[in-house]
């Protein structure tokens, strides 16, 4: 989202931009999200506009499935070494889908965090931009199968493609490498490793999404049934010296959003949110009020100590200390969502980082980190930050 924003904002000033993305599609973590807080609207709506801005703007050159190996040089004269992953499917691809129909191999769908499967040759998702198929080299049997090549009418598939290096020049570099969830399995007391129905908040985005693995339904990973009681554990591994000492700024609003999405889909379900502080910033306060007014959503101030399973293994048991009532509570749930935070993606680049692995604001002149690789922030703040960096990047060449 931030990279795309920076690219279109710069290009629309009239400058040339090269946009490099590791994945085969643009949109990062945001395109995987069910909706945004506080409006509960789909991210694809704004991204569609941004993709249109890219499609029609010849000043933007976009490389997907490409990583950056090295950044050298100085402001106004950077040399950036790119590594293009093997181009198994070229731009002749029309996204007709014939290849997927004949492909005999399956792979876990990373877009759905492995909760669904695709064929080894696949369209990353229905809104994918560029609208082009991808091939998962780990699961493809290549020439020994060759079925997709035979069925492709457009000469779009080359199974023997190799990766290629390319060095480009740039006057400035914006780094918008984004974030990932920290490993939830590392949080020992919250049962992510032990119980299928303990999931993370980003996994929940896919499960509740009508275009996700369950289609129109929210389904438990364990048995494919619809949960009736759902618990959210805020600050799961955040604001905690053992894991992430900081707050990730978005998880409170995200869980409120999830709670409302559940209620919209299943008005009779029961949702509990265990929190330390409800950090719903600025004018999203009325969004919090909407949640507070919902009788089926309970907000409990208390840190969750432990998640276990009921004796008959049919339910999860959330143990927490209710700080307002000063008592210990045990609460049953069918599905537990851990509000895990934001950690910066790590790349082996020669850039300065701060204590928590975030990319520092202070870099060599001409290098501008933006959004969640720099510090945790929500989408609107990321867009703002990316737009600000767009200005910095054009200051040098004027």
């Amino acid at each position: 989202m931030s990279g795309v924003t920076a690219a279109v904002e710069i290009a629309e000033v009239g400058r040339q931009v090269i946009l490099v993305e590791e994945k085969p599609y643009l949109g990062g973590n945001v395109i995987k999200m069910n909706n945004y807080f506080p409006k509960l609207c789909p991210p694809s709506c704004g991204l569609e506009i941004n993709f249109r801005r890219i499609r029609q703007n010849s000043r933007i050159k976009c490389f997907t499935s490409t990583t950056v190996k090295e950044i050298s040089g100085e402001i106004n004269n950077f040399r950036v070494k790119l590594l293009h992953k093997p181009n198994f499917i070229n731009n002749n691809c029309t996204a007709c889908g014939n290849c997927t129909e004949v492909c005999p191999e399956e792979r876990p769908n990373e877009f759905d965090y492995g909760f669904s499967k695709t064929k080894a040759i696949y369209l990353p998702h229905e809104m994918a931009f560029p609208m082009k198929y991808s091939l998962d080299v780990k699961y493809c049997k290549k020439e020994s199968c060759n079925k997709c090549v035979e069925v492709c009418d457009y000469d779009a598939i080359n199974l023997s493609a190799k990766d290629e290096e390319e060095t480009i020049e740039a006057s400035s570099v914006i780094i918008a490498t984004g974030w990932k969830n920290p490993d939830a399995a590392a949080i020992k007391n919250l049962g992510y490793k032990d119980y299928k129905n303990v999931i993370t908040n980003v996994e929940f985005e896919r499960l509740i999404d009508a275009n996700g693995p369950g289609g129109d339904k929210l389904l438990k990973p364990s048995d494919g049934k619809e949960p009736k009681e759902i618990a959210f554990v805020q600050c799961a591994g955040s604001r905690d010296e053992n894991y992430l000492p900081y707050c990730s700024a978005v998880c409170c609003s995200a869980s409120l959003k999830h709670a409302l999405s559940i209620q919209n889909k299943y008005p009779d379900s029961k949702v509990k949110i265990f929190y330390i502080d409800l950090r719903v910033s600025g004018r999203n306060e009325d969004f919090l009020r909407k949640v507070e007014e919902n009788k089926n959503i309970e907000l409990i101030k208390g840190k969750v100590a432990k998640i276990t399973e009921s004796e008959d293994k049919s339910k999860l048991v959330v143990e927490a200390e209710d700080m307002l009532e000063s008592r210990k509570i045990k609460s049953e749930a069918d599905l537990v969502v851990l509000a895990t935070g934001i950690t910066p993606n790590q790349y082996n680049l020669n850039i300065y980082r701060s204590g928590e692995g975030f990319i520092s604001d202070k870099q060599k002149d001409g290098i501008y980190p933006v959004a969640c690789c720099k510090r945790p922030m929500d989408v609107s703040s990321s867009v703002k930050d990316a737009t600000a960096a767009a200005l910095k990047s054009i200051q040098l060449t004027s």
Binding site: G14, I49, T94, D286, G355, S380
Partner: protein, 705 residues
């Protein structure tokens, strides 16, 4: 004039398997008199593209239609010289992928889309952009606080001339009265000196920044590229700028309304800003021993400010920290609802928590009474359950931010002097993904006038808004629209002979594009226009058109469809879809292989608000049985990219129902549905159930008339 045209039909991606392409070619040449008609097995291939390009060189035609996949894909491939009108006809996603292959109705659908596409080309003209004679590249920044100063510096660094206007004698705004700032980055264990004096000094080093202090704005007229501004500072100063950043700042919430928290009643109850100013003016002041902070004083409170101001928690932490540094004997008490130090600011919170003489208590202040020169504060709803009370020497109320009014910009716009306000009077965009999009093109709000925000956030906001201001100038120079139809070079052209001065266009334009002459005639400012076409939809006299989108072009598409007679039992439903969200949803439905009735004829529109009543009556009088409109969600959480386009559809709906009544037609003949872009799975149901409704009420009696 008969235009020489070409039609290219792609048979790839299943189109050739599902449709009789030769019959379509025959229709193009025989019925539609198209000069060049070709088919190709993959038009998007190099060979396909070259075939078209060669024809363009040899055949010299005016326009061409590419009947293949959706215009949303392969856009970069089908790029032709701009003097040629190129129209994409969506035979893949919206015909063969969503209908039964080989079926008679599928073929009829494709035939009609060809007719519609050709009709459109015949009725639109090549785009000539509007570019004003002299466009100013200078930028006006209104408000000389930290946001305005930063915007000015950042804009100057990019090489633009900046006028910075401040109504007070000095630059600096609120930050002038700050003693310290809290850290936004590492290290979090030290407070920082206010950055404002350095910034003010820095301003002086830029030759391309002209500062006007003690200056107000008498008036701003014009449009992006040519804003005429009259400044007042004793005398009138006239300047011309291309775009504007408004950083008019904020005021603390009026503490006089907080008498329940002792303000105005007891001398030692002050606001956070008063406290800051006090320390700034006299850092050596003898501070009292026990100081209590009340968070959310008049915030997150339905009787006062319903929202959170984002900066008060960290500000109180800052106060606590320097109080303890200035007077190690002191104790600080903080009564809060939630401590909101999001992100890395948590580190700052932890830093202050380390101090065992700073006491945090979650609760609500229920009573304040004077007792022996002190104030006794009672707190209920604490974490421990019991009420507690504490005697203190001073109370500081953490009051929130209210946005400054922007009416002092004195825009001469017909729709008002300031920026339209959204929630809680902030001049924000309401868009999560496009935070800078105000409703006055070329004028960008930054800082606390847009949303409550702290200094660090204002710095980013200033740069972002300045980028948008620069971008607007550059786009205007190219004759292009800014967001969301960025790059669009069409603009509203008015055929004034027919205008009756009804003023609908001036009132309904969400962006204030239209002013009025003294006689009350609409006066269009093309560079203010965002090209949504809402004015086109509003005009009862068909005055307004865009070169590629007009009453005539859409009417021609509507009329191009062959309407079967009533005995064939093949109803025809006209569907207007918003091109931003509903159209992609239809594409996705197709690519997922979802089938729906082939009786629909889809016309994408720039916004549902651009649908003109004329199109509806045209459709009904030429025999369509029903009209379905699919657009974006209106209401508080609206998703319409043009703010109230889809809402207008509802208000205009009543008017349209009257038309139906006068035509003696059933109200069901027109229906509006709102969907989100990801709701593609709802498409078959929305369309099929509407077709069923129409089949139930029977054919349009105007058929065959």
């Amino acid at each position: 004039m008969d235009k020489k045209l070409a039609v290219y039909i792609c048979s790839g991606c299943g189109i050739g398997d599902s449709l009789n392409v030769d019959k379509l070619l025959q229709l193009s040449s025989d019925e539609q008199k198209v000069t060049v008609c070709r088919k190709h097995k993959a038009l998007c291939s190099v060979d396909g593209y070259n075939t078209i390009l060669k024809d363009i060189e040899t055949e010299k035609f005016h326009g061409l239609a590419i009947a293949a996949c959706s215009p949303r894909v392969k856009t970069e491939v089908f790029d032709f010289p701009k003097n040629i009108i190129a129209e994409r006809i969506n035979l893949r996603e919206q015909v063969v992928w969503c209908s039964e292959p080989g079926d008679e109705d599928t073929q009829m659908l494709a035939e009609d889309y060809l007719r519609m596409g050709i009709a459109k080309i015949k009725n639109i003209s090549a785009i000539k952009p509007y570019i004003a004679d002299s466009i100013s590249s200078d930028i006006l920044v209104i408000g000389g606080g930290i946001t305005g100063i930063t915007a000015a510096i950042e804009g100057a660094k990019a090489g633009y001339n900046i006028y910075l206007v401040e109504k007070e004698k000095e630059l600096g705004g609120k930050l002038n009265s700050f003693y310290k700032q809290y850290p936004a980055n590492e290290p979090f264990n030290i407070l920082i000196d206010p950055i404002i004096s350095d910034r003010i000094k820095e301003i002086n080093s830029y030759k391309n920044i002209k500062v006007y202090t003690s200056t107000t704005i008498k008036e701003i007229s014009g449009q992006p590229g040519n804003f005429d501004v009259i400044l007042l500072n004793g005398k009138e100063v006239k300047i011309q700028v291309g775009s504007i950043v408004t950083s008019m700042g904020w005021e603390p919430y009026d503490a006089n309304k907080l008498s329940h928290l002792g303000y105005g009643k007891y001398e030692n109850v002050v606001t956070n800003i008063e406290f800051e100013t006090l320390i700034k003016s006299n850092p050596d002041i003898q501070l009292p021993k026990n100081i209590l902070f009340i968070q959310c004083a008049g915030s997150r409170d339905k009787d006062h400010l319903p929202y959170c101001s984002d900066y008060c928690c960290s500000t109180t932490l800052k106060h606590a920290k320097y109080i303890r540094e200035l007077n190690p004997e002191s104790s600080v008490f903080v009564i809060y609802k939630d401590i909101r130090t999001p992100g890395l600011s948590e580190e700052f919170y932890k830093e202050v928590q380390k101090d065992n003489q700073v006491f945090f208590t979650k609760g609500t202040v229920s009573d304040i009474t004077p007792e022996n020169n002190q104030l006794k504060v009672t707190v209920k709803e604490t974490l421990l359950g019991d009420d507690i009370s504490v005697k203190v020497d001073m109370i500081v109320l953490a009051t929130g931010m209210t946005p400054a009014g922007t009416e002092d910009m004195n825009l001469t716009y017909r729709l008002g002097k300031g920026l339209p306000k959204l929630k809680y009077n902030f001049s924000d965009s309401h868009f999560i993904c496009f935070p800078y999009e105000t409703r006055r093109t070329g004028i960008y709000a930054a800082g606390a006038v847009r949303a409550p925000m702290d200094v660090a956030s204002c710095l980013e906001d200033a740069s972002g808004a300045m980028l948008k201001a620069i971008q607007c100038i550059e786009a205007t120079k190219r004759g292009e629209s800014v967001h969301p139809r960025a790059g669009d070079k069409t603009y509203p052209e008015l055929y004034m002979d027919r205008c009756t001065d009804c003023k609908r266009c001036t009132e309904e334009c969400p962006f204030g594009t239209y002013d009025e002459t003294e006689k009350g005639t609409p006066l269009v400012n093309p560079s203010r226009c965002r090209r949504c076409g809402i004015c086109l939809g509003s005009c009862p006299e068909r005055v307004i058109s865009f070169s590629d989108y007009s009453i005539n072009s859409v009417s021609a598409m509507i009329k191009a469809v062959e309407i079967p007679d009533e005995f064939e039992e093949k109803p025809r439903i006209l569907v207007f879809v918003c091109e931003n969200d509903a159209y992609p949803a239809l594409d996705m439905a197709g690519s997922k292989g979802l089938k729906y009735s082939p009786y629909v004829r889809i016309i994408p529109v720039r916004c549902l608000g651009s649908v003109n009543k004329v199109w509806i009556s045209d459709a009904l009088s030429c025999g369509y049985d029903g009209i379905l409109q699919i657009g974006c969600k209106p209401g508080d959480d609206y998703q319409c990219h043009f703010i109230h386009g889809s809402e207008l559809t509802q208000t205009r709906g009543e008017n349209i129902q009257e038309t139906l009544t006068t035509m003696m037609l059933e109200p069901e003949r027109i229906k509006t549905e709102f969907i989100e872009i990801t709701d593609y799975y709802r498409i078959p149901d929305i369309i099929n159930s509407y077709v069923e409704t129409i089949e139930d009420i029977g054919p349009n009696p105007f058929k065959d008339m």
